[in-house]
Symmetry: C2
Subunit: 255 residues, 2 copies
């Protein structure tokens, strides 16, 4: 299994605090030592840092942890390999273009019978069930909406139909974003929290780090975090139910 | 205009020396201050570091310069913007999937009338003539070869036909790779060099750095570098003629 981390915010925000907690689980406080990745959106563009090595000892992860890239939409993943070797092409997140937008996806779980899923002209590069499922999802979306859609809630409702179908093939927790919307589907484990004023203190479960967001954030900031397991122990995280989807836009939970 | 840098090698090799020279031109010894990027292939996977800020003062560029990622195929680019704002989505190189492979592209030049070029289902995300031309090229390739081709020299011959057509619309120097082959097309400025045993010293034009490859490389290493302008002054670079293409495979020049 793997762990997922996502962020949606109304102002460009760095994810250093949450990422610091996650990367500890990549081989130190958790077993997810088979690679890690993080994708930051900035405007219509995005950039990904990834490494097939354990995050807790990755120099690139340490750089990302210390270099505050500010973004309104972030997806991150630490991997414990099942399908597909430990290699860069099998390291999440995966990004592909659809409707002239960059779409980024990460998956926690394991699927059976996924190789029969048609992917159209979105062909997998690596060998994971995850990338195959992402290509299938993009193919479903591109068949359903041949041009860029306008009603995004309907689009994500359709994503939920697709995700529920994938869940029939195994465990399928996933994060998906086009840089504006951050979507998550829960099959087994997923939690979220929204931080708004008045901000308080948060202390990581996996590291001896505490942040007082009162001094880090502005009064109008709205920052939502999605994670496989809660990252802090003195805040109230909400568990997502199996089969449930959640959708964020600029930090606000809209589904 | 921009500057291009490419590498093809028969063993995973770091590009730190050449990259150190290039990034100086990104705002210090050269005017290409509108972003930079570099893509490394490792197996079937690749990873890109990019920044819309000047490379000579970029913390990410400094990290990449000091962290020796070893690869057999690399493409890098420093940008002086013409079409498209200074933004991440307009920062080269661009990577897209075709035939289940990652294809990476960077362009130096300027095109007119490019918006009329049909791109099929490869839609541009940013506003550059470069990304539009890349999408058109992928569309041409996917129409010509509906399945992954086998005879790669023929594929790159077809790329040259496409590149020559793009050259009729302006200046079109480009680098293209699928991680195995590194291809370059020259419209105005492009140079290359192959380093093999017996290795000697090389001294950067843009920085006070000298490397003695005798101590850095093994006797069987073959490393080819392609650059808009020579990066060293005590080695013999070959100028590519306008309208000429060059193709490398594992360091060997095969066209």
């Amino acid at each position: 299994m793997c762990e997922l981390l996502g962020m949606s915010a109304n102002v460009p925000t760095d994810i250093c605090f949450s990422f610091s907690g996650l990367i500890k689980r990549g081989g130190e406080t958790g077993p997810h030592k088979d690679g890690w990745g993080i994708t930051f959106y900035e405007g219509k563009g995005c950039r990904t840092f990834k490494d097939p090595h354990p995050s807790y000892m990755s120099q690139i992860a340490r750089f990302v942890q210390e270099y505050p890239i500010k973004s309104c939409a972030v997806i991150s993943h630490i991997r414990q390999a099942n399908k597909g070797s430990i290699a860069l092409e099998n390291t999440h997140p995966f990004t592909r273009e659809l409707w002239g937008q960059s779409w980024t996806f990460a998956h926690n779980g394991q699927l059976k019978g996924y190789k029969k899923l048609a992917t159209g002209h979105h062909r997998p590069i690596g060998q994971t069930d995850s990338e195959h499922a992402f290509c299938w999802l993009l193919h479903q979306l591109s068949c359903r909406y041949q041009r860029r859609p306008v009603h995004w809630k309907s689009v994500f409702d359709f994503v939920t139909v697709c995700a529920a179908y994938l869940q029939t093939k195994g465990v399928f927790n996933m994060l998906l974003t086009n840089g504006k919307y951050v979507y998550a589907y829960c099959s087994t484990h997923l939690h979220w929290i929204t931080r708004t004023a008045p901000f308080g203190r948060a202390k990581l479960l996996d590291d001896d780090v505490e942040v007082d967001f009162q001094y880090e954030a502005s009064a109008t900031d709205i920052v939502s975090i999605i994670a496989t397991q809660p990252l802090t122990f003195n805040e109230k995280w909400t568990k997502v139910q199996s089969g449930q989807a959640i959708l964020f836009h600029l930090g606000h939970k809209i589904i």
